[in-house]
Symmetry: C2
DNA sequence: TCATGTGAAGAGCTTCACAGCA
DNA sequence: TGCTGTGAAGCTCTTCACATGA
């Protein structure tokens, strides 16, 4: 795809962080903000924020700033969080439970419709108010409700099977935590969050800092 | 920093995935591989893999390929996983437990030295063989052992305090899962993994696919 | 006057095309 | 011959500088 009319991925990744900041500002009773203020505590430059927002329209008032509630509504609409957004969690280990619990208690914009596993010891239980169902019931759940995305938090050896269950149920967006490269399929969007690979790449920077420190010590 | 001699961040993020692929190949008894083979099932192009490796040296043989074990050793050395790599986990909720367990059982290159929390109900217990200590003991642990990085998995309201404890203990690399922007500090490297923000950005793409589907249906 | 919105310049990263070497 | 290693070209994204308009 050519670079035209397309929103940069990096912009899309930042939108939720603007949203969170706006939530905080609105909670504090602040009605008008600026790209400068949004810049503080998010780590992005004011120019970048303005450009990001400009991809979707002109939401501010020149010389004044942005209305916080108005901008929040706009961003919610852009992301698609303005309507009921149902997701499912596939794989009820510690990671799956953590994500389920977080979204139920802290994320008002997303509804965890159900969680799925194959372990009979877990199936039938509940995580807060979310039922844990057998994976064989994923398809019927997806038929009854409009499920926008699946979070895949199963061990590597079950990733392939979990992926297949999700795709067969008609869900076409997957947030994959299994350390496995899922096959590319047309119309299926997969976002990989490979936490252990990421940890290792962080260790690269730790090693750099470590070597630098030793070098400075050696000079003395 | 200017773009010279610097390894692209994106290259560093891919190294662990090459490492994992090499582990698989070596397990299967394969001694020689090619950028083409490394390309399959990792999702990166062969050219990109060759360029990534070339930042660190010439590890292959022209016309032949790469020796799998040799290349693994080289990558381990580059990342800094060739020596004992100790990390700590700060925050023993479900996410902290998930990360601790995964690294103990599945990641032979990293050692979880200890986990820390403030909850007396958890302190003193063990996650597999990893002791859960009170956060006040982080400093002494870091003094005794060479801790390369800390994984921060506490709720948002404790992120600031957890960050401070880590920095004060002398650890300068942090893998932060709390949905909070930690303050920039000189000599401290923070990598943010904001899972709920990421989920929301994924929902943006889900919304795009959803609208597209509805548009196609409307045409009929 | 002040903060937004935006073309243009620049930096970072990927892809291309092929030279180089076992 | 075949696959690595690499300058050059191209693409994406960020930063700059300023025109724009409440």
């Amino acid at each position: 795809m050519k670079y035209q009319n397309m929103t940069p991925q990096s912009t899309v990744r930042r939108l939720p962080l603007y949203l969170r900041k706006l939530d905080h500002l609105i909670e504090s009773g602040i009605q008008v903000t600026s790209s400068q203020e949004l810049s503080s505590r998010t780590g992005f430059t004011a120019e970048q924020i303005r450009k990001d927002l400009a991809y979707f329209g002109a939401f501010g008032t020149r010389g004044k700033g942005y209305n916080t509630k108005f901008l929040r509504e706009k961003i919610l609409k852009i992301i698609g969080l303005d309507e009921q957004t149902n997701i499912v969690v596939v794989g009820v280990g510690h990671l799956g439970i953590a994500i389920t619990r977080y979204n139920v208690t802290k994320n008002p914009y997303v509804n965890v419709a159900a969680a799925f596993d194959i372990d009979p010891a877990i199936v039938g239980k509940k995580i807060l108010d979310v039922e844990v169902l057998h994976i064989s019931r994923l398809k019927e759940t997806a038929k009854k409700q409009d499920i926008r995305a699946a979070v895949l938090t199963v061990p590597a050896e079950h990733a392939q099977a979990g992926f297949q269950s999700i795709v067969e149920s008609g869900i076409n967006v997957i947030y994959n935590f299994a350390p496995v490269k899922l096959p590319a399929m047309k119309g299926i969007y997969v976002h990989n969050a490979d936490l252990s690979a990421e940890l290792q790449s962080i260790i690269y920077y730790a090693t750099m800092l470590h070597k630098e420190k030793n070098k400075i010590l050696a000079k003395k």
